[in-house]
């Protein structure tokens, strides 16, 4: 019995170790790992409740991964990708505007003369909304492009789903 158990254990070890072998195309670089991760997270709210038919403002909270920044909604340099929010309005919901905060001034250490407008840490968007009575799912998508002090990552999107309950 002990032999059988030992055999099974040994086989399991070997299987687990062989399955964990790194394959040639599995890039373990930190940049690759970062590239596969979401660099901006939608924090909250996931659900809001407010009176039907009355204009409301919802604060949407986001956090940017540490050490990174993203362009603000109004980048200063031509060609930079602005942070934007696209929303799908379900029937019975009207999004009248989204306010973006002003960016902070930033310059890459290697190019201190070029001033950029960025967000870092946490930031809040203000969504102005009116909804008819009922439950609605507002599906937004935040598009951003992140960099650290020497590297930039391709533009990405993060889903912003909000369950809207209007009473």
């Amino acid at each position: 019995m002990r032999t059988v158990l030992a055999f099974m254990a040994g086989t399991l070890w070997l299987l687990s170790s062989s399955s964990a072998q790194k394959l040639p195309w599995q890039n373990s670089s930190s940049a690759a790992n970062a590239a596969n991760q979401q660099l901006v997270h939608f924090l909250y709210p996931q659900q809001v409740t407010f009176p039907a038919g009355k204009p409301q403002t919802i604060d949407l909270h986001f956090r940017i991964a540490g050490g990174l920044h993203i362009n603000s909604h109004t980048p200063r340099q031509k060609g930079l990708i602005a942070t934007n929010l696209a929303e799908v309005e379900p029937s019975g919901v009207k999004i009248t505007a989204v306010d973006f905060p002003a960016g902070s001034e930033f310059a890459f250490p290697a190019d201190p003369a070029t001033k950029l407008s960025i967000y870092s840490g946490e930031f809040v968007l203000k969504m102005h909304i009116v909804a008819q009575a009922g439950n609605h799912l507002v599906q937004g998508v935040l598009r951003y492009q992140a960099c650290d002090n020497s590297t930039c990552f391709p533009p990405r999107t993060v889903p912003v789903p909000i369950d809207v309950i209007a009473k």
Binding site: L12, S17, D148
Partner: protein, 217 residues
Amino acid sequence: MIAALALMIAAGVMNYRQRRREEQARNQAVQMRLVPTNGDATAGTVDDTNQGDSIAANEAAYTSPLNGKQAPSFTLQDLSGKQVSLSSYKGRPLIVDFWATWCEPCKVEIPWFEKLHDQYAKDGLEILGVSTDDLDRGDPAKLFTQKRDISEFVTRMHMNYPILLSAESVEDQYHIDATPTTFFIDRNGRIVASTVGLASRDEIEADIRKAIGGANS
């Protein structure tokens, strides 16, 4: 039989320990990569710690899995629509630089490449800039605008070397996850050095010398 089983178990344990060490090293690399310099009071997760200097250090320490290997072959379109193959550069030292118009650190590096291109022209140095800007190939109007934007950038930056339009397959082959990413290729088509993120001009020049086959190679 018992000896064989014991051997198998021992091998399994050794492999497991090795795997754990690799995992730990990899996790440490991720932490170093994603966290920044100046402390953010909101930091609460691994991704949000502040170690910007570590990021730079980690990027500097990054070694492409392609280093020492033959550069993967590719054929890409240039801005005029002409097909350009890597193989046509064999026999010459070559820099392949993946960049984008939205990449500010790339704008720091590009003027250095222009000057170094001139400086090492006598050694046959060639540079290929590969734009990783998104292209809507299925939408002719958008594609036209996107190519025009790249062309304008190239003109504005006075880029004096061929600019190619990237393809996902090529970015996969070269493990391009961020820009700038630069490969230094010798006359035999072998990648002798690579950098991810903005490197110093001195580092770039040292890597060019490796590609040329001069000092420090």
